[in-house]
């Protein structure tokens, strides 16, 4: 008797899970259609990779040699409120008429010790990083 009851309860729970998954599938709509063309992805530019490698390694010395003071200031703003970088991830790069954008996601800790995530983009032209957004 107890076994039958346990089996019924378990079955109801599994049916519930399946129902929950079904409800989620019904309410979770995908992104709206993009009416504009999308640019093809390109490989990560070497110059941008070097800059992000310095950020990931917490290597201020290398970073100071790779980009100028204006870009360092822009980078500092882009990374706010993260002060302790834990991970960096290249998410994609696109090119339009010789201008390249290389995008990254950084995770880390804020001054309050909270986990946070920010995104920033390096502009690359002529194999050099020329801007930070």
């Amino acid at each position: 008797m107890n076994e039958a009851k346990a089996l019924t309860t378990l079955s109801l729970f599994v049916v519930g899970i399946l129902g929950g998954v079904l409800v989620h599938a019904l309410v979770d709509k995908g992104p709206a259609e993009n009416p504009y063309p999308a640019l093809p992805k390109v490989e990560e530019p070497r110059a941008a990779h070097d800059v992000v490698a310095a950020i990931a390694a917490d290597d201020a010395q290398s970073l100071s040699r790779l980009i100028d003071s204006t870009m360092l200031s822009d980078l500092d703003s882009a990374l706010q409120p993260i002060i302790d970088v834990r991970t960096t991830k290249f998410v994609g790069a696109v090119e339009s008429e010789g201008r390249m954008l290389s995008a990254y996601v950084v995770t880390g800790k804020t001054t309050e010790g909270m986990d946070f995530v920010v995104g920033f983009v390096l502009r690359v032209a002529n194999d050099q990083v020329v801007g930070v957004n």
């Binding site: 989620h24 999308a38 996601v105 995104g119």
Partner: protein
Amino acid sequence: MAGSLGTLLVGMLAGFVIASATGVFIQDSGLFGASGESPVTRSYMLSLLKLDPSSMVGIRPNQGVAQRASELQGADTSRSTSPIQPLSLTYMGGATVGSYSVHIYAVDLRNAQGVDQFFPLALTVSGGRVVRRE
């Protein structure tokens, strides 16, 4: 009877949470061809390119009535005096940490002067709303 219904409801809740978490994981990892793009950020970008702040109301932090009116005024002026022509909108990628996710786009547009502009936008989403734009 009530106990059975409770078990069913708890199961449904668990199923919903599991499906949601799995969806986020699949989006972030790009498995099964998922781009990882958020419907919220896509809507936000489309509203932005159409200069239509009214359609952003539900997907960004609440603003005062005066601020919203000011934005609508600015959008009307932009549409009539300096229209833009979007050339491309590309989702570059994103990631999620806890309740925050970041989604990055590249926008190529032609301004009223006929000058092409190519720039990125990083959107931070929390609680189904775009809470930060850079």
